[in-house]
């Protein structure tokens, strides 16, 4: 079964059409997508850097993870809403874009990883955590989220 008809449908829904027709809606939504990027980037980096023994390394990991969590979830929500809007205006282009599929694959993996393995590890008592395991979790998280970012930027160039 091809997903193309679904992508064509997305593009023809009223919202997608409105964004495509407007001169300024796409750039403005894209702007907020970028502001979300700043927040999600900061919230992820603080914790992943800490897992690597960098940055706020004197703070308990669990405390940093709990403090940044509302901002991680909030900015992820902004990213998903603005992202779906941007997608709906050019869904067919995305269907044929390698960067789009690369980004979506990384995004799915990043979300699953963040809210399962990474969440369990970061909320664990510091004393029980092995430093090697912490570093691996941070590197996987950084690799997946970087893939999302690079893939996203590259959709615009394809």
């Amino acid at each position: 079964m091809s997903l193309l008809p679904f992508f064509e449908w997305c593009e023809n829904v009223g919202v997608g059409q409105a964004i495509r027709i407007s001169d300024w809606l796409f750039p403005v939504i894209e702007g907020f997508h970028l502001l979300g990027l700043c927040i999600i980037g900061g919230a992820i980096l603080i914790v992943d850097m800490r897992l690597l023994g960098l940055g706020l390394r004197r703070q308990p990991i669990a405390e940093l993870a709990r403090d940044t969590r509302p901002f991680l979830i909030g900015s992820l929500a902004v990213m998903l809403v603005t992202g779906v809007l941007l997608f709906s205006s050019e869904a067919v282009k995305c269907y044929y874009s390698f960067a789009f599929w690369f980004k979506m694959t990384c995004l799915a993996l990043a979300i699953i990883f963040t809210f399962t393995v990474r969440q369990r590890v970061t909320l664990m008592d510091d004393a029980r955590m092995s430093p090697i395991k912490a570093k691996i979790v941070a590197l996987v998280s950084l690799a997946l989220w970087s893939g999302v970012g690079w893939g996203g930027r590259w959709i615009g160039f394809s």
Binding site: D23, W24, P27, E30, G31, L34, L35, L37, C38, I39, I40, G41, G42, A43, I44, L45, I46, M49, L54, G55, L56, R57, R58, Q59, E63, L64, D67, T68, F71, S146, G149, W150, R153, W154, F157
Partner: protein, 185 residues
């Protein structure tokens, strides 16, 4: 030599053309994704000052431990940003978005200077306060607003609504410094 003449001179240098035709998308991606490190971490300090995040972590600890990363991110931003300007100098020089962004950058720089030479000098007095004193909160709020404006106006440089090669209102022509013979895209 005027700013425009300088931009035209830059545009004719071989490296400007080479970047424009070559690694421009790569440099732009680095510029955008470094937002996570530079603006992202600067925002984390602002949120700490406002008392909405990491309330139990001393302010000086957040500032000192994150500063090297923020500075490194800033250096990457300035270098990649300068290269992006160098690749498209004339159009950027005549862009109201670019001009607005530079103005906001100067204000953001002043805000950092006022914060560090003012209230932050006495940080030991309020290091552990869950919510920083008013002058620090003002600096944090200004920082959030200015960086948001910088990110948004930076993104808008790519769009051509106010480009000089199109007919523009007198206000836009004045603010963008449009010169007819220099504005062919």
């Amino acid at each position: 030599m005027s700013g425009l003449e300088f931009s035209q001179w830059l545009a004719d240098t071989p490296w400007s053309i080479a970047i424009h035709e070559g690694p421009y998308p790569l440099i732009e991606s680095v510029h955008v994704l470094t937002l996570c490190i530079f603006v992202g971490l600067a925002v984390m300090l602002d949120l700490r000052l406002l008392g909405v995040m990491m309330r139990r972590v001393p302010v000086s600890e957040v500032a000192r431990r994150l500063l090297p990363w923020t500075v490194a991110g800033f250096v990457v931003m300035v270098i990649s940003g300068a290269l992006l300007f160098y690749a498209i100098p004339v159009r950027s020089y005549q862009s109201i978005w670019f001009r607005f962004k530079v103005l906001m950058l100067i204000l953001a720089g002043l805000n950092v200077w006022v914060f560090h030479s003012g209230i932050y000098r006495r940080v030991s007095d309020w290091d552990l306060d869950p919510v920083a004193p008013r002058p620090a909160r003002v600096a944090a709020t200004l920082s959030l607003v200015l960086w948001a404006a910088i990110v948004l106006s930076g993104r808008m440089i790519a769009y051509n609504w106010f480009d000089c090669y199109k007919p523009q209102s007198a206000v836009v022509n004045l603010l963008a410094g449009c010169v007819a013979e220099a504005s062919i895209p």
